[in-house]
Amino acid sequence: MSPLHFSFYSAFTFSSLGLAFHRTHLISALLCLESMMLSMFIPLSMWSIENQTPSFTLVPILMLAFSACEAATGLAMLVASTRTYGSDHLHNLNLLQC
């Protein structure tokens, strides 16, 4: 595996592991989600560079647009959680807990 491929592969693994573990704040999980998006943007751009195909340059731009949508929705949920419970602590989201 070439060093550059290894670096974004491991960056994606770090962020997905960081998303999977329990955190205190909801926004820490949202930040890990954003770093997953960033670490996917870089290899999508590298795909079009390494295969010398200009038309694939559309895909990272499109991914950026949808990642902005997802970040906005996540932040709206953060604001809703803070206005309901006073903080964005994850242990407040326990309505489904038995």
Binding site: P3, F6, S7, I27, I49, I61, T73, T84
Partner: protein, 173 residues
């Protein structure tokens, strides 16, 4: 030059590690800003300066700025930076996971040191990324309309999520 790009790749990994090891959100955003700046430099070194500029403007200048002032909603009385033993433990644990995966998966057998850039195949008269993104308006116009519709939709989604009291689904007050 090749080694500089590989150094930027390692810095990218470290920036993302700084987000994933569980510091307070104030310090996590710093890691994300560093990772995105280094990612932009990486893309510029590979030749696609337009994609790098789009990442800088939209991601760093748009989305991360919004994240930075949303972090103010997550206030800690005693914020944990990267010197805290818990955060160091998370970081070392993640490095250990990657190390085990690399060793067991035998990923570094052939450590080919080389970087393919945009100009590796010769001189280009029209830059690869400019001509590629310009296809958004010619062949990919359907995708452009779908993305624009999605962004407009998200505006109303956010409005409904934060509205409360009588119409909202999430807020109780």
């Amino acid at each position: 030059m090749t080694y500089f790009v590989i150094f930027l790749g390692i810095c990218f990994m470290l920036g993302v590690l700084a987000v994933a090891s569980n510091p307070s959100p104030y310090y996590g955003v710093v890691g994300l800003v560093v990772a995105s700046v280094v990612g932009c430099g990486w893309l510029v070194n590979l030749g696609v300066s337009f994609i790098s500029l789009a990442l800088f403007m939209v991601y760093l200048g748009g989305m991360l700025v919004v994240f930075v002032y949303s972090v103010s909603l997550a206030a800690d009385p005693y914020p944990e930076a990267w010197g805290d033993w818990r955060v160091v433990g998370y970081g070392l644990g993640f490095i250990f996971v990657i190390y085990v995966g690399v060793v067991l998966g035998e990923l570094v057998e052939y450590w080919k040191v080389g970087v393919l850039t945009v100009d590796s195949a010769g001189v280009s008269f029209v830059r690869l990324d400019f001509s590629g993104v310009a296809m958004f308006y010619s062949c990919g116009v359907g995708l452009l309309l779908v993305a624009g519709w999605g962004l407009l939709l998200v505006l109303f989604v956010v409005l409904e999520l934060v509205r409360g009291l009588s119409r909202g689904a999430i807020r109780a007050v």
